[in-house]
Assembly symmetry: D2
Homo-oligomer: 347 residues x 4
C-alpha cells in the first residue's frame, strides 16, 4: 500500500507554529528609549497570549454561528453536541484568561510606572478582537457602556470591523430563533384542542402562582410578560421572544428527557460564558487598581470604572439567566402527555 | 537515651481529627421528610467546609491581632515576617473558597428546588464566622450594607458575638497605628531643620504635581487631603490618618530597601485579601443566580443584590488601595538622605 | 391554600450544619502539651475538609453504584445523564482536593516540626474513607501497593470496613457489565449473517492494521488480544472483557450519534477521575517532600515513595485509557448499516 | 514645563503588540490539504501561547543569571528581593502552563486524529525554548533522559543553541556559588577558635543524631556525606558542595532572622519551580494519553514514557529538596552566638 503520509514535506515544530513571527514580535518601548524596564516584556507577552486566546474564541464562535445559521438543525446531526463542546471549551479558555491575571499582578505599580508613560495612548480597550467577541455573542452597540469613549479609542477601520460583526446575526439572535423553532412544546399534535398554552402553560402558571409566598407575588406579572404575551416582542431591552422563553424554560424543566439533555447543556454553557466574562472584568478591575490606582488609564479612561459598568451591564444572556426564577420543583410539574414523552425519548 | 516520644499515648488519625463528629454531622432535612433529594448532602458538606475554612481564617487573624496588639513590634523579631506569611495563607484559603464555588454550581436549580423549601429560613447570611472575619478585619457595623436585614437574620447571642468582635481593635485600626508609629519617615534626625514635611513631602508633592496631565489635575487636592492635612482625622469615612498614609506611601515607594521589603509585602497581602473577598462575593452572586434566580433567598433576602452591594462596599482596606494613585516613577523620586538609606539597610 | 411550609419548625443555619460539632472538633495535641505550634490548627482543619469531601465523593459513588446495580438501565431514564453529572461533580471535588494542597504547603517544614512528633503514629494513610473510595471505584486488595503496610496502619474494624467495600461490586465491575450488555454492537439484527465480528470488526481491524507505521506494528497483536479474543477473560490483570472493550471502543468512535453522546461522556469522566487521583497523589508527594523531606512519615512510612508507587499503579480505569491507541480517524471508519444508524438516533 | 510625553509618536495597542504578526501566524496543515479539522487552530494557538510563556520565563531567568553573575551580591541592593520576586513570577506562569492543559484536553482523540498525521514529524519535543529553560536552570546534557532521542529531534542549529546554554553557568551553579560565599556561617569571627564546624555543626550533628528513631538511623551517614565532607566534591551526581549544603540548611533553620528571610524565600521558590515543572510533565502525560493513547507520538516517540522519566529525573534542585530531611525542631536548635544574631538582624 502506498503510504500517502510520506508524500508530504516533513513538518517541523518551529515552522509549523511560525515561531519566527511569534517570538520576534516583542519590541519594548523602553528599549527604544534606552530606559530599563524589565517588566515591559511581561506586559507585552501576556497581552499577546490574551489576543491569541481571543482569536481562538472567535474561531469557536464562528463555527457555532455557522451551525446555527443553517436552515435546519437536525437533532440527529452532532450539531448541538458539537456546539455544547465548543462553548464549554470557550469556558475553559475564559477560565485561563481569568487565572492568568495573577501573572500580571506580579508586576507592581512602581514597576509599571517604569514604562507606563511610554505606552500612551495604547490601552487594552483598543482590543478589537475582544469587541468582536462581545458583538458576536450578541452585545449591541446601543447596549455598550461608554459608547463615545469606545469609538474614540478605535481607528476607523477597527470600528468598521466591529460594525460588520454587529450587523451579522449574533449568537443571541440565532439562539432565540433556534428556541422559537423547537417543535415539541408548540406542536399541536401533543396537546388537546385547547392548544399548548391552555393545555400546558395555564396549569403551569397556576402551579407557579401557588408556589409563591407573599414576598414573591411580584413575580407573577413578570411571568405573564415573559411567557404569555407574544405581543410584547420586539420591544426594546427584550431580545428573547415569549416563544423562546417558553421553550427555554421547558428545556430547563424537562432536561431529564433525552432530547432535552443537550439543549440544557447548551443553555448552561451560555450562562457560564456570561459569568466568566463578568468574572474576567472583575479580576481585571482589581489588576488595574493594583497597578494603576485611580489615575486615568493610558488610554485616557478611568479604567476601573469602565470595567465595573461593563461587568454589570454587558451580560449578553441575562434574559436566560432570569428564567431560573420561574422554575417549579419536579414534584409540582405538570405531567407531560404520553405522546410527547415518547417523542422526547430515544427510539 | 530515654525516648520522650514513647511516653505519649499513640495518636490515631480518625481520633485526632475527631471524625466521629465531623462525619456524623450531616442530617439532610429531605431525609427527615422522606423526600429524595440526592444533592442536599453536597449542600451541607460544602457549607461545612466553608465554616472550617472560616475558623482557620479567624485563627490566623487572631494570631496577627495579637502580634499587632503588642506595645512594640520589633523589626528584628519575626513578627512582620510571620504576619505576612499568615496573611498570604489567608489568601490561599480564600482562593480555595472562590474555586470551590464551582463544586456547588454542579447543583442545578431544579435539584436545589427538591429540598430548598425545607431549609427556610436558614441562609448563608447567618454565618456568624463570616461576619466575625469582616469585623476582625475592620468592617464596622455602620459601614455594613443592609444593617437591619443583617440583624434580623441572626440570633441575639450571635449578634452579641459579632458586637464583641466589632468592639475589639480591628486589624485595620492596628495597621493604622503601626503605620503611624513607623519611625523612619517622621524621625527628625533624618531631615533638615525644616522637618520631614518640608524636606521630603513638599518636594514629593511638587514632583507629583508636575507628573499630572490635564485630566488628572483633580488628584492634587486629594493628595493634600490624604497626606498633608492631619486635621482631617478622625473624620467619618476615613480610617487611616495622614501620618499612616504618608508612611504607607513611603513603603510603596521605597520597598526596595531591606527594611521596607516586608512592610510592602504586608500591605500587598491586605489588598489581596480585600480583592479575594470581593471576588468570592461575585462568584457567590453567580452561583446564587444560577441556583435560585431572582426569587428571594431562603432567608427572605434577594441574595444576589445583597452580595452585589457588599462586593462593592465592603472593601476594608480601600484607603490603602487608593494610594497607588499617588506613586511617582522611580526616576522622579526624591533622593533619600544617606543617613536614612543607611538605616533602611542591613547592617 | 394551606401553606405546608409553615408547618415545619424553622431551620437555622448553624443548627442545620451542626456547627457545634464541626467547629468544636479541633483539639491540637500541642495545646495538650503546652507547646506553642500555631500551625497545628491548619493541619487539623485541612484534613477535616479532605474527609468531608471524601464523604461527599462516597455519597456520589454510592448513588452511581445503585444506578448500575439495577437489572436494566433504560436509555430513556435519566440514569446515564445523572451518572455523568455526578462523575463530573466528583472531578470538580478532586480538583479542589488538588488545589487546596497549596494551603497546606504554606506550612514550612520547621513549623511542622513544632508538633510533628506529637502526632505519632497518626498518618494520612489511615484515612479509611480514601481507601473506601479506591475500593468502590475498583481497586482490589491484590493490586494495592504496600499491602502489608496498609494493613498495619489500620485498625481491625477499619480493615473490615474496607473489605466490605472490596467485596461489593465495584464501579469498574459494574461498568464492565454495562458495557458488555450494550445492545447495539452485538445485536444480530444489525449485521449480515456473518455476524458482528466479521461484519464490523474484521474490516475495522484491517483498516487499523493499514494505519500503523513500522514502529507501531506491535499494536496489532495487542488489538487482537483486547478486542478479538474472548477466551482470555477472566485473566489476572485484565478487568474488562473483550466484549466490553469492543463496545467501549465503539462508543469512542461513534460518539457523534445521539445514543452514544452520554456513554462517551461517562467513559471520559471515569478517565478524568483516574487522572485527578493521580495528580492528587503527585501534588501530595511534593507537599510531603517539602514538609517532611525524606524522613519517614509519622506513620512510619516513607510517604513519598508510597505515594509515587500508588500514583503510578492505582489507575483503576487504565484499560479504558489504553483504548485510545486503537482509534481510527473518522475518514477511515467503516460505515455503519443504515438500520444501526437509525437506532443510534433520536426518534 | 515642557511635556516630554508629547514628543513621542502615539503608541497604538495593535501595533505595540505586533498583532499583525501574532494573529497571522496560524496556518493549519489541514487547510492546506483541504481537510476539515476544526480543532487544529486550537492545537496551534495553545502551543504558541506556551512558547510565549517560555520566552517570558527565559527573560526572567536571564535577569536572574545576570544578578548572580555579579562578582558581589550586596544584601542591601534589592538583588535577592528582585530575584525572589522573579522566581515567584515564574511559578505563577508555570501554574498557568499546568492549568491551560485543561483547554487542550477539550480536544478529543478523534478530533486530533483528523489532522494528526499531517503534522509528522513535528512534536512538542522540538521546543528549543523548553530545553533552554531546563539548561538555564541547570539540567545538564548528561542528566537528560533519552539523550539520543532528544538529539535526533532537533536541527543542528537548535542543538547548538541548547549547547550554548548548557555551557553557560546555570542557575544551579550560580546558586551553589552564592551559597558557598554566604559569609555568616563560615566567618571565623563568630565562632570560638575551634571554628565553625566544631562550634556549630558538631553540636548540631549530635542533636540531629539524638532525634533519629531506629528506622531513621540511615540518615546519619548521609548527613556526614552531605554536610561534613568537603572532599566528596566535585563528585558525579552531586552539584552542591558541602559548604553550600551547610549554608542552605542554615538558611532553612534560621529563616526567622531578618537577613535569612529572603534567602529562605529564594530557596523555596527554586523548589517550587522544580515541583511545578514536574507537575506540568505529569499533566502533560495525562493529556497525551487522552489524545494519543499509547501510539507513538508524531515525533516518533512514546511521548508518555519520555515525560514520565523526565518528570521523575529532571528535578534540577533535588539536592536542596533533600535538605529538609536534616532539619531539627526549633526547640532543639543550637543557640547562635550573640554577635552572629546581631549581624543577622536589621540595624
Amino acid at each position: 500500500m502506498k503510504n500517502e503520509k510520506a508524500e508530504r514535506a516533513p513538518v517541523h515544530y518551529s515552522e509549523y507554529l511560525q515561531l519566527d513571527k511569534i517570538l520576534n514580535a516583542q519590541q519594548p518601548e523602553s528599549g527604544k528609549e534606552g530606559v530599563r524596564a524589565d517588566d515591559e516584556m511581561l506586559f507585552i507577552i501576556i497581552h499577546q497570549t490574551y489576543e491569541l486566546w481571543f482569536k481562538q474564541i472567535l474561531h469557536e464562535l464562528e463555527i457555532i454561528r455557522a451551525i446555527f445559521g443553517q436552515p435546519n438543525i437536525s437533532d440527529n446531526a452532532p450539531d448541538i453536541y458539537n456546539t455544547v463542546h465548543r462553548l464549554q471549551r470557550v469556558c475553559r479558555i475564559l477560565e485561563i484568561a481569568v487565572s492568568q491575571m495573577a501573572v500580571l499582578e506580579t508586576m507592581t505599580p512602581l514597576d509599571f510606572l517604569d514604562f507606563r508613560d511610554l505606552l500612551r495612548p495604547a490601552s487594552g480597550f483598543q482590543s478589537v478582537q475582544f469587541k468582536l467577541i462581545e458583538a458576536t455573542l450578541g452585545l449591541e452597540y446601543e447596549q455598550r457602556h461608554g459608547k463615545g469613549y469606545y469609538r474614540a479609542q478605535l481607528k476607523p477601520e477597527e470600528i468598521a470591523r466591529v460594525q460588520v460583526a454587529e450587523e451579522k446575526e449574533s449568537l443571541l439572535v440565532l439562539i432565540n430563533r433556534w428556541l422559537e423553532r423547537m417543535p415539541f412544546i408548540k406542536d399541536a399534535k401533543y396537546w388537546s384542542d385547547a392548544g399548548e398554552q391552555a393545555s400546558f402553560w395555564q396549569p403551569y402558571r397556576a402551579a407557579y402562582a401557588a408556589s409563591l409566598n407573599e414576598a414573591e407575588q411580584g413575580n407573577l406579572p413578570t411571568f405573564d410578560r415573559l411567557f404569555m404575551d407574544d405581543t410584547h416582542y420586539p420591544v426594546a431591552e427584550r431580545r428573547l421572544s415569549a416563544d423562546a422563553n417558553r421553550n427555554a424554560l421547558f428545556i430547563m424543566l424537562y432536561r431529564d428527557y433525552p432530547l432535552m439533555h443537550l439543549p440544557f447543556e447548551l443553555l448552561s454553557a451560555l450562562l457560564e460564558i456570561d459569568e466568566l466574562l463578568s468574572l474576567w472584568r472583575h479580576r481585571h478591575i482589581h489588576m488595574v487598581q493594583r497597578t494603576i490606582g485611580k489615575r486615568v488609564g493610558t488610554g485616557g479612561s478611568s479604567g476601573a470604572e469602565y470595567l465595573r459598568a461593563a461587568a454589570d451591564r454587558h451580560y449578553v444572556f441575562k434574559e436566560l439567566a432570569e428564567l431560573t426564577s420561574f422554575l417549579l420543583p419536579r414534584n409540582r410539574l405538570p405531567k407531560l402527555p404520553a405522546r410527547l414523552v415518547n417523542d422526547l425519548s430515544y427510539r
